[in-house]
Symmetry: C2
Subunit: 213 residues, 2 copies
DNA sequence: TCCTGAACAATTTAACGAAATGTTCAAAAG
DNA sequence: CTTTTGAACATTTCGTTAAATTGTTCAGGA
């Protein structure tokens, strides 16, 4: 499918290997020696690929997050209408992590991966590009008069946050509830809140002012 | 308004004082001596009111959370229809914390107050009783055929989690976005997802199956 | 371009006494 | 009987050290 240069293949192997070790031992307990040894190279040589240990970790996690994002995007692109695109993207992303215990473990070891706080950079770019995909779907839905008019920047950020919250509840802490069915129910509730009724009225700015008795 | 016994008044003062100190210095840096001194008593006497330092902290935070909850409940009870009840409760809760920098600071110092994870008890009971109020509104809305039929346990937990997520985003981390307007937009989106269209059709089990072309 | 291995720098760990803080309780005050 | 005191006691933190581990650099070689 993909043609890859020798260098890329090696780098990819590096990230996959490192991810397994970070998952198994956590950031602190995995030594750069551990990673180098698993790849049958010396630790000195690792510094040919990454700047330092922190850089190794960030590149490794970024690599994993990008694959995750790609899975959601692929599912989205296989649908034609925006509602299905929205739904499939959400479901695919959940199923990806469901089937990826290694990445899940890394998230459990370091929940701050999702932080997106202003001061920290780290994975902001990756998170933002995932949000951008979501935003594009929302924009298209609004353009087609299928979704309510909205501030797509705010709502995409909001929905992304809700999605992250779900992930944390379900996979980082493993809470009693927050089951898969709960995710589906919340997803359908959200879609109802997004989608205008089949009758495409233009500019339905009903801020629900009129109290129905 | 409220008639209080001497003992209750003193306990209340204790919690208010402790909250200020925990807000200013954090759990670790506030000594029981600090709290006792501020109340002009010896630290030994504090142990007449609480079991130990941890207990002092938990009772203090619980006291504050309960007042917060009461503010939301009061706002809810002043409305007559479920949609307004839902909306007012959410808005009142946000405004309460908006106007309460001390409690806000305590939450910033210790975000795990909201955790509700299975292993930890701490504030579970308080959180659960807040969720119960929300759940009651949802149940009433479903009963009156104003809200879509739903699993109220799942959806109330979901909505409570979304609410907590907002609080954390806005007050614990202080993120660039997640503004007040974003909260309002998300609230309206949620209400649209909850409320059936004015035409009260019975058992609208539309799982959005029919693809609209 | 990629890799080695040894030198060097930085961080972590363990140990330990001193200081600070948390907790208990007999006795006293109200 | 309830509330408070104050000193004794228990526990945890802090500051300091030295050794061990781990991270990083780099001259040189495949």
């Amino acid at each position: 499918m993909k043609i890859m240069k020798e260098r890329e293949k090696k780098t990819e192997l590096l990230f996959e290997t490192a991810l397994e070790l970070f998952a198994a031992y956590g950031y602190k307990k995995t030594t750069v020696d551990d990673v180098a040894a698993r790849l049958s190279m010396t630790k000195g040589n690792l510094y040919f690929y990454v700047k330092n240990k922190k850089d190794l970790y960030e590149k490794t996690v970024n690599h994993a997050l990008n694959q995750w994002k790609a899975a959601g995007q692929k599912a989205m692109e296989s649908e034609t209408d925006v509602v299905s695109q929205f739904r499939s993207m959400a479901i695919a992303a959940i199923e990806y992590i469901e089937n990826n215990p290694t990445l899940r473990q890394v998230l459990m070891n370091d929940p701050s991966i999702f932080t997106i706080s202003a001061n920290e950079d780290r994975f902001r770019k990756t998170n933002e590009s995932a949000m951008a995909i979501l935003k594009a779907v929302l924009e298209e839905g609004v353009r087609q008069n299928i979704f309510y008019p909205m501030d797509v920047d705010h709502i995409s950020e909001y929905l992304y946050s809700v999605y992250i919250m779900f992930l944390i509840k379900r996979y980082v802490k493993s809470e009693s509830s927050s089951s898969k069915t709960m995710f589906r129910e919340a997803l359908e509730l959200t879609i109802r809140g997004l989608v205008m009724s089949p009758v495409t009225t233009t500019a339905a700015q009903t801020t629900s002012k009129g109290g129905k008795s």
